[in-house]
Amino acid sequence: MSAVYINLILFTFCVYAILTISASLTTGLGEMLTMCQAAFFGIGGYVGVFFLNHLNYSIVEVALLVMLVTGISSLFISYASTRLKGDPFIIVTLSFQMIVYCLIYNWRTVTGGDSGIYTQSLKVLFTWELPQNYHWILALATLFLVVLLYQYLKRTPYGRLLRGIRHNDQIIASYGKNVNLLKAQTFFISAALSGLAGVLYASESQYIQPGMLSLDCSILVITALFIGGKDNWKGVFIGVFIVFFLRDFFDVSRWPAQLRPSQNIVKNVTLIGNIERALYGLLLILLMYFRPQGLIKDNTQSSLTRRKETK
């Protein structure tokens, strides 16, 4: 097993796990279903590539900058969430996603359109360089920090307020808490983490193109979230494994050259990929009927009140 392949599979998992955890913050904890996670992922990727190519910063510095920029780009969604709830809000996030995709696809002078942008960066922290094959260390470390942040947010009063908003936000508002500010903070953090995932993706695959932020990807994030369990990190990991990891595992074009099978096996692999998609579609339907909380429930002490909810 070559180092390239190990790097690839670990990185794929980490990037999509960070993306899905950021989705879990808004959709799982806060119950504001958003269809635009891939849009923030893409904004993070493209802005990150811009910083990496033109300003020649290291990956960590670029990641911090990108998190700020992507968080600011979430302000529109926060504004929409103050005025709309439920289905109209979902349609606004869907529209935002399509607008961002359209902008990045068609604004060829800035983003390169369909042909994408190439990037290369070995600088990880300030001037400390790391060979490309060991970037999975960076990805794992980032995933670890993100999961820590997520657990911390859940256990603090901030997490309790989020769960309160999920239950009934008028009660929280009647306690004097600023619900709109809370939602804005949640979207900011969620978008920032998605942007972080975007920068990591760009630095690993050294190439970004508009396909990474399509509506398809947003729907896959939602699928992964609900298959695994939308409000705990273990569920997110299971969901990401089933939806993203297995899909990329079967994506033959990304395999290293010595493992790539001959042409007549490639068609069967596409078939297996479609079968896998059909199976997790079926799994999603069955789960929604039998176990809407997802495969892994959150049974920790911090979620005690959840046991009474029938959803």
């Binding site: 439920g86 529209s95 068609n106 509506l215 999603l284 009927y289 959803k311």
Partner: protein, 295 residues
Amino acid sequence: MLQLQFIINGLITGVLYSLMAIGFSLVYNTTKVFHIAAAGIWGFATYMYYQFSIDELKLPVFVAIGIAIVISMALSLIIELVVYRPLYKKKASTGVMMIASIGVMTFIDSVTMIIFKSHDLTPKHVNGNGPPVWHSIDISAEQCWQLAIGLLALVIVLVFLKRTKWGTQFRAISADEHLYASLGYNIFRVRTLAFVLSGCCIALSSCLYICGSQSVRSYTESLNFFVLALAAMVIGGTHRFGGCLIGGLIVGLAQEISKGVWTDANWLDLVVFGLTIIILLFKTEGILGHKQRSV
């Protein structure tokens, strides 16, 4: 005249978007389910039409369209009976139903890809002749059929919804479901009819679309069409069936005009979804507005 060309093309595409929007809105308004699986039915219907008209059986076009519509109506009914109705009986929330719908769409699409392995579909055209020219406007024969059949179907559906007893029941259940049930009506019968009619509209929209185009079909194309039809429904008015017609025409016109004005890039999504966001933020009920009794 170039402008008239855009308007005619826009009307024709707009009719197809309206049909798809009505198909979605029939389910969404009566059952409050965000029926994303409609995109799956759309894709499935194109492959059904292809299967019957070109691939194996080489039936005449209208027979193939008819068979594709019947199969799609059956598929829509199966989705309701197997997925949505059990969830409804369990009193699942609308979020859960939406996620189940996403699962159904993924499943239908991947099964379609498994059965019909090739992605290249070149559909059969209605007439083999060249495009006729009328007052220097280029309209092909397929587009004439698209316009004629699409408009006829739209008019029939809208008249059905407004004038007949069943249409009134659809509108009643979309206004207040519990009141409707407490008056003694059978909700499940209305749901069944809504899903069947929805499948019919979606399949008609899909078959007419593929009749007039030469391109291939793929998962993302059905999803893109569906999302534009969703925008059409929202722009026109989410809870009004007539809103789908107006919204669809607006989206169709926007598509043709943006193709004409910006020839190098396709800014259609920006225009249409920008309009959707503006409408949702400032007039959430859409252009037509919510029909309420004035007190």
